[in-house]
């Protein structure tokens, strides 16, 4: 891919992903931060309870991928605008790429492999459905 083509694709991606991220992040904030009690109501039982639902799994994984790629491309543009020393630029861009891949893999694994009812954990820390039946 030529440089021009890549930048053009990035330009389109920022606008399309940005548009969808608005809906995803506002929903994320309303459900998590504007619920009764706000951030105080967020704990393992709440999040694991949500992630037991495939709908929230796919919601969160879409949000994770779009937000990280959108943010990484933004940071790439910022680095290319302000960092002129070739070695430093390569280190920063390399670190950015590595951290993005690690976080996308880690986040995706957590979303899809989380056990909402881990054995041996006190029932009052777990979603209520763990002790039902």
């Amino acid at each position: 891919m030529t440089r021009g083509k890549f930048e053009r694709l990035g330009w389109i991606f920022m606008r399309v992903s940005g548009f969808f991220l608005i809906a995803l992040i506002f929903t994320h904030l309303i459900v998590n931060v504007l619920q009764d009690g706000g951030v105080h109501a967020i704990d393992f039982a709440f999040v694991a309870g949500k992630l037991a639902n495939p709908l929230w799994q796919w919601f969160d994984v879409t949000l994770l991928w779009l937000a990280l790629i959108h943010g990484t491309n933004g940071m790439r543009v910022v680095i290319e605008d302000y960092v002129y020393r070739p070695l430093l630029k390569r280190i920063l861009l390399g670190g950015l790429a590595v951290s993005t891949v690690v976080l996308i893999v880690l986040g995706t694994l957590v979303i899809f492999t989380l056990d909402p009812c881990p054995a041996g954990s006190p029932a009052d820390l777990l979603p209520s459905f763990c002790s039902a039946g």
Binding site: R15, G18, F19, L21, I22, I25, F26, L29, V33, L34, D36, G37, G38, V39, H40, A41, I42, D43, F44, A45, V47, A48, L51, L64, A67, L68, G71, T72, G74, M75, V78, S99, L103, L106, G107, L109, V110, T113, L114, P118, S121, P122, L125, L126
Partner: protein, 113 residues
């Protein structure tokens, strides 16, 4: 000019929060005790004020991002870009006026915990 500077600053701030946020969420996988302990760090007044700043940054970045899309994608966008920046600021103030009281009451009264 200012819209461009603010878009960069809010974008960079949101990016660094996102890094930390993926990591704190990943502690779910360790144990309920560890995750609840990590999340406890967010439930302090100082972090609550930081969260207000974060939401302010996200709302600005979202509204100004829509303005950028309109400037790029429409024939009339460039002509009205300044007017649209003022609309962004007004909508930001309205949304934050709705969010802040509810959030700050949660932060300073300990929520439902």
């Amino acid at each position: 000019m200012w819209s461009w500077v603010l878009h960069r600053i809010t974008g960079i701030a949101i990016y660094f929060f996102l890094l930390v946020h993926v990591l704190d969420t990943a502690t779910l996988r360790i144990s309920p005790e560890v995750y609840n302990g990590v999340l406890g760090a967010y439930k302090t007044p100082i972090m609550g004020i930081g969260e207000a700043g974060l939401v302010g940054a996200i709302v600005f970045h979202a509204l100004n991002g829509l303005r950028i899309i309109l400037v790029d994608a429409t024939s009339w966008g460039t002509r009205h870009q300044k007017k649209m920046f003022y609309i962004v600021l007004v909508l930001w103030a309205i949304l934050m006026a709705g969010f802040l009281p509810r959030h700050l009451i949660n932060v300073f009264t300990g929520g439902a915990e």
